[in-house]
Amino acid sequence: MIKVHIDLNLCQSHGECVAIAPDLFQLDENDFISWQEEVDDSRRADLEAAVNTCPMTAIRIEG
């Protein structure tokens, strides 16, 4: 499994990650981010794209 961290001090709700993987990342009514914290290895490509496309470099993955 891959662990997903988002630094909420950095996140500005651009929604890049939501566009890349809407099942793993969501924005709520107030545009606050929520995400799946443990993700199957099969989704590594999506997670890497989210990490590399986040304008705030707020996403970090581990494992």
Binding site: Q12, S13, H14, G15, E16, V18, A19, P22, L27, D28, E29, D31, E48, A49, N52, T53, P55, T57
Partner: protein, 412 residues
Amino acid sequence: MRLVIVGASLSGLRAAQAARRAGHEGELIVIGAEPHLPYTRPPLSKELLQGRQEIEDSALPVDELDVQWRLATEATGLDRARRRIRLHDGDEEHYDRLIVATGCRARRFDGPGAQLDGVHTLRTLEDAIALRAALKDTRRLLVVGAGFIGCEVAASARSLGVEVTMIDIASHPLLPFGPVLGERWAAMHRDHGIELRLGVGLAELLSDDDDQRVTGARLSDGTSLQADTVLIALGAMLNTEWLTGSGLELDPGVACDPTLTCTRDPEILAAGDIASVPAALAGGARVRVEHWTTAAEHGQLAGRNALVAHDERTAHTAPPYFWTDQYDAKIQALGCPALAEHSELLELAPDGGRFVAACVQGRLVVGVVAVNAARRLAWYRRALQTPRPLAELKEALAQEDATLGSPVGATP
């Protein structure tokens, strides 16, 4: 295989990372004109300028990337027959595959007074550090150009208590967001105390006799105003001169097919600001997008595509996305709003502060602009991959239950 990337900013870094991740085990060389490892530019006009972020925070993580960095090194020419890049110090670099990602630089004012002290542009980290220091002692800032950089710096300077005059030859600010919404952006800046003068350009920068320091400006309508610091924000110029004479097609960007492969040389790909790539939302015409997300996406794709033969490369399909933060508004855009003839509100929150507007060309929606509506923008990214008739998009929207609210009777 020796992969060389010219350009050590966001696009070049993402290309290097993607190439390694996709299994490139050969040599990987990144050539950059600036002395720094890659850093991210969006904070330079906002958080960094406002003192809410430090210089080191703008560094982009470079991981444990096995890259040979050649920094403070400018590419000056390309010899495709010999597959050599000429460098400013007379050296050469050989490539098997090449990614060009040299980006843009700030356009300068070339009229009288351009060389005076106190006249700034903003593109690099050094520019931001110099402007930040200057704003500490600035009473009145003149911003020349009301595009992204101009508007963001104007907003940042206001937050520091600086008096700001912003001028633009255009009839409203932020042209890339389309022709109609401009009234709204103009009102936003005026509401925050900016003296905004539209339809007027800069004629001359002024100083007192025998002094090299700027004291004001004379404008194209003959009026003069005082300023102790001036930001020239007249847009960007392409760093493509080094490719002149290389035989690559320049339009004036580097002409590419949808896989970012240069039209005249399958061994060379382009990424970021300088890449001119067919876009579905522009009806298949080639467009250049000078924005962060495109640079990141292009880099990732070019890094992967550079490793395989031309017919195995994949296309860039994501619509352009760009944003700006000014005061308390996050303005996000999708597609090609600048191509629109008019705009129409699609969603509006009851408090009026959040909305989504369609940018319409003929009957077709070619982009959307959202203010403080990030969650909703994600829906449009899926719904608007290609131009769609406005009526059809509205029908799809009617099936959605989580919109901001109905805009009936309101105007953007």
